[in-house]
Amino acid sequence: MGWHIMHRVERATDEKPVEVPTSTLLKWFLKILAPMKFTILAIILIAMVSIGLNMVTPYLSKLIIDNGIMAMDANALAFYVILTILAIAASALLTALRRYLTAYVNQRLLFDLRRKTFQHLMETDVHYVTQRPSGRMISLVTNDIAAIGEIVTMGAIEFLVGASSIVGAIYMMLNMHLTLTLAVISTIPMMFLLTRFLAKKAREVFRETRVKVSQLTSSVEQSVSGARVAQAFTERRNIDVQSFERISRETMSTRVKAILVSSLIRPSLDSVRALSFAILIGYGGLLVASREFTIGGLLAFYGYTESFFRPIIMITMFYTTLQSALAAAERVYVFLNTEPAVKDTPYAKDLEINDGEIVVENVSFSYDSNMVFENISFKVKAGEILAIVGPTGAGKTTLANLMLRLYDPQKGRIMIDGHDLREFTLSSLHRATALVPQEPILFNDTVFENIRAGFPEASREQVENIVKSLGLEKLIESLPQGYDTIVAPGGENLSVGQRQLISFARAMLKNPRILILDEATSSLDSRTEYMLQEAMVKLLKGRTCIIIAHRLATVKLANRIIVLDNGRIVEEGSHEQLLRRGGLYAKLYETQFGVSIQPSVAVS
């Protein structure tokens, strides 16, 4: 399993900690929370009532002690005890309700974010996605979003609730004893400074942690995808183990750093709280001893001190979780705000493709700095079958990418029925076109669903018809459960040829006006391919079709052939014309059919 260079790749792409201002992120949170504002409002209301109750409880204990116990009044004692029980019961009910609503907001947010991220993924540039380890995307949709979720559970609501209980507690204390209150709350500024310091540290380490988690996920994903290759190379094992060990170890040490920071928080805040408590005992005790304050009051103060330190500690702890969440949110935010380069233009319309005439006009295209085409022009007539041949790396697949607007050319334009591709909405363009790629990708679903993916509204009958018209019933019959056979992850239980056929049926089911076959039958045996071609003759009628092939047998269907070499069109014409010309095509043809095997023998 080989991804030992993973972290290097990560560096090569753009996996470094990103920094987004906290205020931007907070605004973004507000925006995504907006649809749930009534629930959030309800939570806050419930919380306020709970706080009210919480404020009453320490006072009730003061009343129990001072008016009940110390005053030796059994009736008052029983009365306040019952009141206390009622207050606690009400508080428990409200807490249950609040917890439930908070969980709802939290889970709903996760659900929405996952949905949004995936939706955005579906609009992202092909280039962006294919150039990054897929583990990164997985980590984004799962790990990072899960980390954001914690913001809400402990988050904004806890903050508001906490802040009001602090105010409430201080108010109640001030009513009982001014100087004692001031003495007890004198530690708050210290608490504040401490919190800020710790939060800053926490943000740094959590940012690093998120990057590491993503890298770990990537490397795991990579290893699983490459597991079959790695099996064949036994010498490799130790290296792979070592590199996995390294990335796992790095993850570990980053996390240990984060743990160091987060485990500092609680004890340091507890110490500050203890300082307040010591002041309360010392100064408060003196006051009681000199009869300036009551024991019940002291107990109530203890309760209030607790009820304002608890939220402060909660907020601080939350603030560190928030750092982790913010670090994760940054990544999600940056992804969601990556504008795809290829997207619907402002002037794009839902256009019908009627004729399917394609014009490629002065198109230049390069991947990064690698020039693929320079100033290429050609035309495909409506209903024509055009073959594009040429050596590997000549740019044939790139041409298919451009014609489907998976990429935009840097210069020039491509037109269908006289409209620049950019005048089409992507959905209207892709509705009328279909691609059968070289590498048939099947999904971990039934064969039926895999075929239907091309046109999800299709009925069973339509799927069966297309399979029949392509002459593929035998293929389906040969599968263990026919249409209901589950395609294994990566399509491993089917041969590449079988996968190509399914991918072919998937494209044809769309009934496309324009069909692009990119080496679509390269792994079929010649007999199966021959039969498929027979079927295609009928099926291609009235469609514009572009066939990219190395196997010149495949090219037979075409009316016209374009020979591409080094990003330029070097020859063009019918099969006969090109053979007669004796150029690159003729040479390719000869090597394929003319050399050691004597074709004339077979045909006779």
């Binding site: 080989g2 790749v9 110390m70 004692l77 005890v81 606690i88 807490t95 249950a96 917890r99 439930y100 969980a103 995936f118 092909v126 996605v129 294919t130 380890p133 583990g135 799962t142 996920t217 990579q222 490459g226 290759v229 064949a232 183990v241 240990v256 609680r266 004890p267 507890d270 110490s271 203890a274 408590f277 010591a278 005992i281 005790g285 024991i295 203890y302 700095s369 050596p391 590997t392 044939k396 990418n401 959905s427 892709h430 691609l435 990708i441 999904f443 993916a453 999800p456 041969s495 056929l501 792994s523 079929l524 045996d525 010649s526 007999r527 021959y530 190395h550 047998a553 059919f593 095997i597």
Partner: protein, 585 residues
């Protein structure tokens, strides 16, 4: 697809083993917990003394008490900081070791495991499951200890303050809390299990959408993919909500139980105070101690939930660790000596699903140095047959001999390093071209790499790239064309200089001119090697000196090109259709 088998049930004893491996860290954490808990319990005791003193109007030593409180708290904080840090360290170490162990085990598992278990599940196991376990083992167990200790000590203390009051408090709290926690644990476990499965499916769906990204975009089926994703997304949401709801119905009521018992204690204690049976300091300390029970008892609830979660995760991890590779080395496996390349398939029967054999009794003998082309229609079993050679799968019946050794009797590595295989669909790693070619021989010299690249006719292309051999390949090699990737894979296989070379339709995307060049260059290199060529292309057949035709999992024809053409059987038919397909020369 969900790897369907019941998760291992008894995981606790096994988890304990991981803890034992870090006994020093664990012991220190435990000591810190005990010390911290005792300090914790001293605080109400001091308060009790203070209150009893000030009640009688004495303020002597009050500041000493206050400073003692502060000092003890700082000490307590330091101890807990160390505990948190050390148990965090321990959890990370445990996770790291487990990850490595699982990783190594995955390397031993055979193809069939990866056919069955999807990417998402494995990712889940290696990342979040292992983290869950690490956290549980380290922090939850010290937490459990500290909570138990706290409850025991508090019980002892409150009993010593006032036995009858303690009895009341305990009899109200303990049964309620125990019952609530048990019900919760019972209900929440199946939810966690189902959520685990859905979470894995979520991962798989994303992984699949990324690998199939281009086709999804090209076919314009983003909505289809999105609907599929959102279905799983909704499932995860529903299940999470169900467990949250359960939590909301449970935990606040634990607080209620404590609160009520504390109020009752005041009432009962107040009456005792009237009779001078208890001091006011005792009463207040008693209620403070009762407050100390809230967190430990609640933490039992959390621990229950954590335990359930860890149990599900650990079940999944152990399940993978316990998965026996179907292809296994015999304990007495011998080192396969350097072979000549004599291969015999003896009545080989194999199916991915044993009930549906793909190979239905293949008999085939290949002499050292022979070049055999395997020909047949799509699905006839060609690729499957050659996957048995490096033992990616074992046949259900029959055997395969290599130089007379049953390949099941030899060490896997000694077998596989003598076989070079170029798969049908090429997987390249996202690293540099150099590293990809030298994948199986990481210490290969630059000359070796260049030599095989030249044979595979990819050298010139590589030199035309800006980074030359150090150019990094995109994840699925997308910026390379199909033909370029195939050529890299050929170079990757050749660098091992294997005795047996398997080309599984490995030039299907290479243009015929280049293919011819590759074939010519290969001819020299493979002179004395045994070669299996699966191909659809007649032009590649010329590398072979013997053609074996497979149909429906059996060898139906065997001979030279001319012999088979003369026989006018399936081969002749396939051959003709290609020639006809070419436009009828």
């Amino acid at each position: 697809m969900v790897y369907a088998s019941k998760p291992t049930r008894r995981v606790l004893p096994r988890l304990f083993k991981y803890l034992i491996a870090h006994k020093l860290l664990f012991t220190i954490s435990t000591v810190l917990v005990v010390a911290g808990t005792i300090i914790d319990l001293l605080l109400p005791w001091i308060s009790r003394d203070v209150i009893n003193n000030v009640f009688i109007g004495s303020a002597s030593n009050i500041w000493i008490y206050a400073i003692a409180i502060l000092g003890l708290t700082v000490l307590h904080g330091t101890l807990f900081f160390l505990r948190d840090y050390l148990s965090g360290l321990m959890s990370q170490k445990i996770s790291h070791n487990m990850r490595l162990q699982l990783y190594k085990h995955l390397q031993d598992l055979s193809y069939s495991f990866f056919d069955r278990v999807d990417v998402g599940q494995i990712i889940n196991r290696l990342t979040s499951d292992i983290d869950t376990i690490g956290n549980f083992v380290s922090s939850s167990i010290t937490q459990l200890l500290s909570s138990t200790l706290m409850i025991l000590l508090v019980s002892v203390i409150i009993i010593s303050i006032n036995a009858s009051m303690a009895l009341i408090a305990i009899s109200i709290t303990v049964p309620f809390i125990a019952i609530i926690s048990m019900i919760f644990a019972k209900l929440v476990r199946p939810i966690f299990e189902r959520r685990w499965i859905e979470q894995s499916r979520l991962n798989t769906t994303v992984a699949e959408s990324v690998s199939g990204f281009r086709i999804i975009r090209a076919l314009g089926i983003e909505n289809w993919a999105f609907t599929k994703f959102n279905l799983v997304n909704k499932q995860v949401y529903d299940l999470s909500m169900r467990s949250e709801k359960l939590g909301a119905q449970t935990w606040p009521f634990l607080n209620l139980v404590i609160g009520v018992s504390s109020a009752i204690v005041y009432w009962y204690g107040g009456l005792r105070f009237f009779n001078n049976e208890i001091t006011i300091g005792d009463l207040i300390a008693f209620s403070m101690y009762l407050g100390y029970l809230v967190w430990p008892i609640m933490s039992f609830g959390f621990l229950f939930a954590d335990y359930q979660r860890a149990n599900v995760s650990a079940g999944r991890v152990f399940e993978a660790l316990d998965a026996e590779p179907e292809v296994r080395e015999k304990p007495n496996a011998i080192e396969l000596p350097n072979i000549k390349g004599h291969v015999v398939f003896e009545n080989v029967v194999f199916g991915y699903d044993p009930d549906k054999p793909v190979l239905k009794g293949v008999n085939l003998e290949v002499k050292p140095g022979e070049k055999v082309a395997l020909v047949g229609t799509t699905g006839s079993g060609k690729s499957t047959l050659i996957k048995l050679l490096p033992r990616f799968y074992d046949p259900q019946k029959g055997r395969i001999l290599m130089d007379g050794y049953d390949i099941r009797d030899v060490k896997l590595s000694s077998l596989r390093k003598q076989i070079g295989i170029v798969h049908q669909d090429i997987f390249l790693f996202p690293m540099s071209i150099r590293e990809n070619i030298a994948y199986g021989k990481p210490d290969a010299t630059y000359e070796e790499i260049e030599k095989v690249s030249k044979i595979a006719r990819i050298h010139d292309f590589i030199m035309s790239l800006p980074g030359k051999y150090d150019t990094v390949i995109g994840e699925r090699g997308v910026t390379l064309s199909g033909g370029q990737r195939q050529r890299l894979a050929i170079a990757r296989a050749l660098i091992l200089n294997p005795r047996i070379l398997i080309l599984d339709d490995s030039t299907s995307s290479v243009d015929s001119e280049t293919e011819k060049e590759i074939c010519e260059a290969l001819k020299e290199l493979i002179k004395d090697k045994t070669v299996f060529i699966v191909t659809q292309r007649l032009s590649t057949l010329k590398l072979a000196d013997r053609i074996v035709v497979l149909d429906d999992g059996r060898v139906v024809e065997d001979g030279s090109h001319d012999e088979l053409i003369a026989k006018n059987g399936l081969y002749a038919k396939i051959y003709k259709s290609q020639i006809l397909g070419s436009g009828g020369v």
